[in-house]
């Protein structure tokens, strides 16, 4: 019964979205207030019904209602409750429903918090947002309906892919989708502004919080996915340049670029058309990401739906939205008059550099991801583009970005002096260089990657500290700085920490592979490990082979680790569960393998220096975004003109 209600609510939401797409758009064109006013209640009702539909699906998973095809295919009655819930979006249909739920959520939020927006702009934003909803409601209802029943319900389900039964992965897709779909707001604002024919500082101030929120969610989502890959997928890799990872990384890069270029529009009324283009492309890449994952065009770990009908449907959606928006852009872009003027060496110039490097980096990832398809179709060559390519082709741009960042972040607006900025940064530079030289001197015969990455990372972190200090000059005033300044410094420092950690981990990882006999200690780095015992046991929905490994260092007990090998009988799939001793400066990572003929067990041990810092840096970046988002000027902007919508053109814009 609840399932049918959910199905019905979904169809209703589809209908509401159609109304919300058409009526306000006509209203805004003809200046009919009544028609424009439809957008607001429609956005909220659309969200309400979509949420109801999603709730109904969650309910079906929670109660293990195997009369639903989707539940049968992706759940099992013995599965722990958390994974029953997360199983809702651990499959194609459910994850698309989550996607469209978030589209509706953002639309509803914009209708609630958008009181200060000019009435026509608001109507258009909500209409464009609804059009995205319409496309995906249609996609779900016509090709991927989650509410289909089975005529005969089986006694039990076929279980969720065991790799997905993990707390890290339970929350990875929702965050990622909040990020992807958050960019749809930036897209809607961009298209609405193009229809409106006007982009000003107020517009940028409206777009920036949405982009910032989307970017924060993407950062957390990507970090969660990477962390999950680190502890779950086997040997502690944290980034594989898998097409699906790239699909989330490209919008992240563009969202980061958009964040920075929107600052220029907001403060200086320049770079307008470029910012609009970025907003369109950022969401375009979210759609490309969806297409890559859903079409199975590039088969990879995550591609759970390999169905060409769906792929083509999404390709049409992608072509319609990006193609349509870009056409509109081509027609209207020249009407965007830039006002602010600036010299080459200036904050504006630095932000342009940031945009170039991020956009080119994104382009490299995009090109590399699609090249195998291009090569096969155009040149009849079957080839692969893997991590060695991306590491070689992408990393230089990030090194450049890191090298330029502290200088650009301290550059004054309009016109700056390079020498003066460099002079302020002399201690940061010296300290970072000293660290790198020290690291280089301490390591023997290893790659130069570690010291270089260490230098760039430390330089960015110290640069952020100098920037923050330079704004006040005294400790007391530091706390009174605007949150945006704190956010900027924190996010930049986070990037530095992540670069630092990736370099350290890549350059100084130690590995040991051996057959360990029970009770015989062996040495890895500074640690002595002993495989004490191996036992077989039973989990809730799996069988496990669990080793007990005690770790000692210079005569003291460090940790006891329990690496596991699991076998999920329903899904017929084994997984390895690494045991990790997390420490500040290094992780000790132990994996158990098969038993050998001589009675010993294959044991892999890794010492992974600075591993935690990779995700720590990501958290810092997200925290920086959050601080920036809570800055007073956004709160003021959100509250401005409450109750007098339509007349207020947001708060005045002082070009700092």
């Amino acid at each position: 019964m609840i399932t049918e209600l959910g199905h019905f609510a979904l169809i209703l939401a589809f209908m509401i979205a159609i109304v919300q797409m058409v009526v306000p758009l006509i209203g805004a064109q003809k200046r009919w207030p009544g028609w424009m006013a439809v957008a607001e209640p429609a956005a909220q009702a659309q969200f309400f019904f979509t949420a109801f539909a999603f709730g109904a699906l969650v309910w079906a998973f929670v109660t293990s209602d195997f009369s639903l095809r989707l539940v049968t295919l992706n759940s099992h009655s013995a599965k722990p409750m958390l994974y029953k819930i997360s199983g809702t979006w651990g499959n194609h249909e459910g994850s698309m429903l989550l996607w469209v739920l978030i589209v509706a959520l953002f639309g509803a939020l914009a209708s609630v918090f958008g009181n200060g927006l000019p009435q026509t702009l608001k109507a258009r934003v909500l209409a464009v947002q609804a059009s995205i909803g319409v496309a995906f409601f249609a996609f779900i209802l016509f090709t991927s309906n989650p509410f289909l029943r089975l005529s005969v319900a089986p006694f039990d389900g076929q279980d969720l892919n065991p790799l997905l039964q993990d707390p890290g992965l339970a929350f990875h897709p929702p965050f990622l989708y909040l990020g992807y779909v958050g960019l749809s707001m930036a897209f809607s604002f961009a298209v609405a502004a193009l229809i409106e024919g006007r982009v000003d500082a107020a517009w940028a101030r409206w777009v920036r919080p949405w982009t910032l929120a989307a970017w924060i969610f993407l950062t957390i989502g990507i970090a969660l996915g990477s962390w999950w890959a680190y502890y779950e997928l086997g040997w502690g890799g944290f980034w594989f340049w898998d097409p699906v990872e790239n699909a989330s990384f490209m919008p992240w890069l563009l969202a980061a670029a958009l964040l920075h270029s929107a600052i220029v529009v907001e403060k200086r009324e320049a770079l307008k058309s470029w910012t609009i283009l970025l907003a369109i492309l950022a969401f375009g890449f979210s759609l490309i990401g969806t297409f890559i994952v859903r079409s199975g065009l590039l088969t990879s770990v995550h591609a759970f739906a390999n169905d060409s009908e769906r792929g083509i449907f999404i390709l049409i959606i992608l072509a319609f939205f990006t193609g349509g928006a870009l056409t509109l852009f081509a027609a209207r872009a020249q009407s965007m008059q830039a006002r602010g003027v600036f010299g080459l060496v200036s904050r504006e110039g630095a932000l342009v550099t940031n945009n170039i490097l991020l956009a080119v980096g994104c382009f490299v990832v995009f090109f590399g991801t699609l090249w195998p398809i291009v090569a096969e179709m155009a040149f009849d060559r079957k080839l692969s583009v893997g991590p060695p390519f991306f590491n070689a082709a992408f990393t230089p741009f990030m090194v450049l970005l890191g090298a330029a960042l502290p200088i650009g972040a301290m550059m004054p607006w309009k016109r700056g002096k390079l020498r003066r900025t460099l002079y302020k940064l002399r201690y940061a530079f010296g300290l970072a260089l000293a660290l790198a030289v020290l690291a280089w001197a301490m390591q023997t015969g290893r790659s130069g990657l570690g010291p270089i990455g260490l230098f760039v990372g430390a330089w960015v972190v110290f640069g952020a500290a100098v920037d923050l200090w330079g704004r006040t000059g005294s400790l007391g005033r530091l706390s009174r700085l605007p949150r945006a300044d704190w956010g900027k410094a924190t996010a930049h420092a986070g990037l530095g920490v992540t670069i630092f950690a990736i370099a350290g981990l890549t350059a100084w990882e130690q590995e040991d592979i051996r057959v360990a006999q029970i009770g015989q200690p062996f040495t890895v780095g500074a640690y002595s490990l002993t495989l004490d015992s191996v036992e077989r046991a039973r989990g809730p929905n799996y069988f496990t082979t669990m080793g007990t490994v005690s770790v000692r260092s210079s005569g003291k007990d460090v940790a006891v680790l329990y690496p596991e090998k699991r076998d999920y009988p329903v899904a017929k799939m084994p997984t390895t569960e690494a045991a990790i001793d997390y420490r500040l400066l290094r992780d000790l990572y132990v994996v158990i393998g098969d038993q050998q003929d001589n009675g010993g067990w294959t044991v892999r041990t890794y010492i992974k220096p600075l591993a935690n810092w990779i995700w720590g840096g990501c958290l810092l970046m997200a925290l920086g975004g959050l601080l920036s988002l809570s800055d007073r000027r956004f709160r003021v902007a959100a509250g401005a003109g409450r109750g007098q919508a339509g007349t207020v053109k947001s708060t005045g814009v002082a070009a700092e």
């Binding site: 040997w235 097409p243 382009f363 040149f379 583009v385 991590p387 060695p388 309009k414 017929k572 098969d594």
Partner: protein, 164 residues
């Protein structure tokens, strides 16, 4: 090792991909202790090479990390060639001759592939040129009639005053 050749013909690729899932349970995780060469220098080279070679039946894994049987065979093959005295390039060529270009995770620069490698730098140059043009235009506007209506000299004076 010759028995491996039938594994890879264009026709079987899709079948092989499907078989990948079936292969997984016959589990023999990544590099095994019995594969490791006694000479650490050769072993190091083998590991480096393994990271540039794709496991043909896997989704996006190199043979160094893969659990598949075929990846194990390839790892052993690489080590055999190294022990026989091949250079890194010779090993790679040997593997490519048998399994095709698809096996390379680091694409070559031959043919149209130069475009792949040059795409980033070319795009950077293009972007710099475009940004340069844009900024020069912005700078000229500043000279002619900026938003403040000041010329360069006046602007410089104003900047000086503001900085004090």
């Amino acid at each position: 090792m010759t028995g491996l050749k039938p594994y890879f013909s264009a026709l079987t690729l899709t079948m092989v991909l499907a078989a990948c899932i079936a292969l997984l349970p016959t589990f023999s995780a990544a590099v095994q202790p019995d594969e490791v060469l006694s000479d650490p220098v050769l072993e190091e080279r083998a590991r480096d090479l393994s990271q540039d070679l794709r496991c043909l039946v896997c989704r996006n894994e190199n043979i160094d990390e893969s659990n598949a049987e075929l990846a194990r065979d390839l790892r052993i093959l690489v080590r055999e060639r190294l022990v026989a005295g091949d250079s890194n390039t010779e090993v790679i060529n040997f593997v490519v001759d048998r399994y095709g270009e698809y096996v390379l995770l680091r694409p070559t620069t031959t043919g149209a592939n130069w475009l792949l490698w040059a795409a980033g730098p070319l795009m950077l140059l293009l972007a710099l040129a475009m940004a340069g043009g844009y900024m020069r235009a912005r700078g000229r506007d500043a000279g002619a009639e900026g938003e403040t209506g000041l010329n360069d000299e006046e602007q410089a004076r104003l900047d000086k005053i503001l900085e004090q």
